[in-house]
């Protein structure tokens, strides 16, 4: 190896240069987020008003109208999805952490990871075949189910992880006191990890709240209020998509406003509630 001073300078320079590149790449990674949020705020805020939040969409090409039905629709879909995703995900995670043997767990985890990697559009056509075709119609129910399916593997994996964080001593102490295992699991282990379970659920909700592709062939969209769960229902992401590819300036503005509402909803679920829980626990 050469050790002349000139070579050392070259080495130092190269090191500094590459460190600079790393800093630059960090800036470039964060930059798109900045731009997206800048445009969401600048375009979205000017279009959000009470009209937008409280009214139904106006007929094509007419001014005014809003996305009230889509906002509510997304909340309904999230509620349905949670009803499907939470019991399966949380209790499945309980099994993995409390009962499952290593071999079984590895298989389940592997399958959950595979499911987490299934493209959202594929979920859409699967649930179309599973529910929409037999029910002979697009429906809020099928939209909720598809999002719920997507939540199951997410919640299952994270729940298992947070439960494993509960110290083994807790379980043994409880069992030693003669408390049945299921009570130990529910009242000691799950209670201890409760905040962790809630945030895993919230994270999963935040993940699916913005999904569009699976809703194209399930929830389908609706320009009015959904009357019942076997009817098509509006959802914010669908409405944003339809408005974004349209030619109408009015709709473009509404798409931005809808996107802003959607991202605020997701960030609220994602960070807001988690923060509230953290504050609550620090008292």
């Amino acid at each position: 190896m050469q050790t002349s001073p000139a070579y050392d300078r070259y080495r130092k320079l190269k090191s500094t240069f590459i460190s600079g590149l790393c800093v630059l790449s960090a800036v470039l990674v964060v930059a798109p987020l900045g731009f997206v949020f800048f445009h969401l705020l600048s375009e979205g805020i000017s279009s959000i008003d009470l009209n937008f939040l409280l009214n139904l969409p106006a007929p094509v090409g007419e001014k005014g109208g809003g996305m009230a039905n889509a906002i509510v629709g997304t909340l309904i879909l999230l509620g349905l999805a949670s009803a499907v995703g939470i019991p399966f995900g949380v209790l499945g995670g309980v099994y993995l952490s409390e009962y499952g043997n290593a071999h079984f767990n590895r298989v389940i985890r592997f399958m959950a990871d595979i499911l987490n990697g299934v493209p959202s559009i594929v979920w859409g056509i699967v649930v179309y075949a599973l529910i929409v075709v037999p029910m002979k119609g697009f429906s809020a129910l099928s939209g909720g189910v598809v999002l719920g399916f997507m939540m199951i593997p997410l919640i299952l994996r994270t729940t298992e992880e947070v439960l494993l964080l509960v110290p083994r001593d807790y379980r043994e102490a409880a069992l030693a006191l003669g408390i049945p295992k299921w009570k130990t699991t529910v009242f000691i282990v799950m209670k201890t990890a409760f905040r962790g379970i809630v945030s895993s659920v919230l994270l999963a909700q935040a993940r699916v709240a913005g999904e569009t592709a699976p809703l194209l062939f399930t929830a389908f969209g609706n320009r009015y209020w959904a009357q019942s769960l076997d009817q098509p229902i509006a959802a914010l992401p669908l409405q944003i998509f339809n408005y974004a590819i349209s030619p109408y300036d009015e709709w473009h503005q509404q798409a931005w406003a809808g996107a802003l509402v959607l991202i605020l909803m997701i960030l609220f679920i994602n960070f807001g509630i988690r923060t509230i829980i953290n504050i609550g626990s620090n008292k």
Binding site: L91, N101, L115, E172, P237, L262
Partner: protein
């Protein structure tokens, strides 16, 4: 451990084991629902695509004619579009992500680390459709007016940068997808770099290596497998990306040399054509495309996990 626990349980008199058993089997059923779900996914896709598989066979994957009116279907343009847009995305995203994770693990000031990590997490929370919206109205006009004309004037002699500039097209899709897979690659590679033992670094520093030499010799070469895993995981995401791609790729089933030309992907053809597939065979073909997409993403996920598992298993159970 397992033995001791059951032993304790059995030693306690008067414990009613029936609720215990019920709870255990109930949660087991919930856990196994994942298996059922995977079966549902695969079964429905296979069942849906069976007529198409029977009709077109392997030819489907290697022919490039897409003509619903005459019921000629070939998936090659979609496979091509999916692969090219994803590879473009990787070419852009991998260096940036690894650079960022090197910055974060090796020399970022502590008070910068947390915020940057949170920002990357926030980027991961932005839905696809919002990137699409931003792509249509902000990114594409910018690329079309400034970047692409410049690329054409400098590199226009290359076949990949020639032809009319639509704005939407393969390259635009690659760029949008790159932005979308930055967070996953960054966070996985950051975890992997963090799992590199400090001893490695210290040894290299002790030899008088510069910071870059430490990173290259001690960190990156040690983490190579894991970083490849991170990249493949990103690839898996890129392959299945739907909405943003559909909104910016131009939706044209043709294999064109130019990256400026519009293309089409497996996911976006389903998004666009599924509700209007007029004939049974057309619908079945779209199911088969879904099956191909599923197969490819499962494969990349397995490969990624093999890489990452091999990387992090000695130092802990970080293989998520």
């Amino acid at each position: 451990m397992e033995n001791r626990r059951t032993h304790i349980l059995q030693a306690i008199p008067g414990t009613n084991k029936i609720p215990d058993r019920m709870f255990k089997w109930f949660t087991a059923a919930m856990a196994f629902s994942v298996g059922l779900l995977l079966f549902i996914v695969i079964w429905n896709l296979v069942r849906g695509s069976y007529p198409a598989i029977k009709e077109y066979g392997w030819r489907f994957l290697v022919t490039s004619s897409w003509d619903p009116v005459h019921e000629e279907f070939g998936a090659l343009p979609f496979i091509y579009g999916t692969v090219v847009s994803s590879v473009l995305a990787l070419i852009i995203a991998v260096p940036l992500s690894i650079g960022t994770s090197v910055f974060l693990t090796e020399f970022a000031p502590l008070r910068l680390r947390r915020p940057v990590i949170s920002l990357v997490e926030m980027l991961a929370a932005v839905p696809s459709v919002i990137f699409g919206l931003w792509g249509i109205f902000v990114l594409i006009p910018f690329l079309r007016n400034y970047i692409y004309p410049w690329l054409e004037s400098v590199l226009g002699f290359l076949p990949i940068f020639e032809g009319p500039i639509y704005g939407v097209g393969m390259l635009s899709a690659g760029i949008i997808v790159a932005i979308m897979i930055l967070p996953i690659i960054t966070s996985v590679s950051r975890e992997i770099l963090e799992s590199v033992p400090d001893l490695q670094r210290e040894a290299a520093y002790a030899l008088g290596a510069t910071r870059w030499e430490v990173i290259r010799i001690a960190v990156l070469s040690y983490a190579k497998r894991g970083l490849m895993g991170a990249a493949v995981l990103g690839l898996g995401r890129a392959l299945g990306e739907t909405m943003a791609v559909t909104m910016v790729i131009g939706n044209r089933p043709e294999i064109a040399a130019s990256l400026f030309a519009p293309g089409y992907t497996l996911a976006s053809v389903i998004a666009n054509e599924f509700t209007e597939a007029t004939t049974d065979i057309y619908l079945s073909v779209l199911f088969e495309i879904g099956l191909v997409l599923l197969g490819v993403t499962i494969l990349t996920n397995i490969i990624a996990r093999v890489f990452i598992y091999g990387m992090t298993s000695p130092s802990g159970s970080k293989s998520t």
